[in-house]
């Protein structure tokens, strides 16, 4: 068998031949044992792969993966942090919410002036030249701050002088 015939056998297995050519190859497989054996091998390999794609899982958590993607999108769009948006609130809510929040803060300042010294939620302030992503891993119950950028810090590597 020549290369052309071999490739035709494969194209036949892949359903890429015209009906006329397919009939010719079918006849070749019928009469030629060598062609039949090669066709069987090609078809078996094709079917084996199609039914058994290796299962590969993302090696990092969804939250971490998403936080890096969100950070990149944000960087490209150069807009404020991507916070979870809620489907369009009622019009009055848009105006009422800031007023209510301001009133609540004012009330808290009056009642507990010392509480405003502290902030109740975790906040991140990266140094100007450092980029970081922050997320809370729900499944592992921890807050993660991941420093990004081209510069790698050799904090823990055993090759570094500790």
């Amino acid at each position: 068998m020549n290369t052309n015939e071999e490739l035709k056998l494969q194209a036949y297995a892949d359903g890429e031949l015209s009906p006329r050519e397919a009939a010719k190859v079918a006849a070749l497989i019928e009469r030629d044992g060598e062609a039949r054996a090669l066709f069987t091998e090609l078809k078996r390999t094709k079917d084996l792969l199609a039914a058994n794609e290796p299962e590969i899982l993302l090696p990092e958590s969804r939250e971490f993966h998403w936080s890096k993607i969100a950070r990149e999108i944000e960087r490209h769009e150069s807009r404020p942090a991507m916070v979870r948006r809620f489907a369009s609130p009622a019009w009055w809510l848009k105006y009422f919410s800031p007023v209510a929040a301001t009133a609540l803060i004012a009330a808290m300042v009056i009642i507990y002036p010392n509480i405003t010294d502290n902030e109740s939620d975790a906040q991140t302030a990266p140094a100007p030249e450092t980029s970081s992503v922050v997320f809370r891993s729900q499944s592992e119950g921890m807050t993660v701050v991941w420093l990004q950028g081209d510069e790698n810090y050799e904090f823990a590597n055993p090759e570094s002088d500790l």
Partner: protein, 200 residues
Amino acid sequence: MPAKKIDYESAADDLLVKGAQRGDTVAFEQLVGRHADKIYARAFSMVRNEEEAVDLSQEAWVKGWQRLKQFQGEASFVTWMTRIVINLCLDHLRKQKRQRAESIEHLDEELGGVERQMPVVTVNPTEGLERAELRARIDKALGQLTEAHRTVLILHEFEGLEYKEIAKRMKCSIGTVMSRLFYARRRMASLMLSWKKEQS
């Protein structure tokens, strides 16, 4: 008119895509969560490097978000995303190849190397194997193919693309696709057989 509130967990991809097209990042996050494994798996299968695959799949999601308005729903969302990550991987491999010196590997890709002389595998080399073991062997064998052979095999067998479409994406002729696919399959059969022989 205010948009309907989406139940993100149970919403179908189509609905999440519509939400994301309106700028709803939570809908997009949900899509990423659902399909992150699939997109990563495709990147890893092509570049065979964990770190590069994570970066490429991340880049694909960013591109997906940026091009979301172009998604018309001709194919499923995950198919559309897979095409994006495949194109990124192909560009990445092309860049790597340009940086490498042309090697014997390149000649082997076109000529088929030793596969040309290989006898036909007449027995079923995977008979009696558990599915997990089978998949692991396939993964190992894919890792031993040249980049060009592996890519053509992935695009044909796993993505179900036709010769013409593969040629377009890989920027080569249909004849080259056929030739690479042929030798890739033969090499796979041979690797599977050699492991069967080792085992027995």
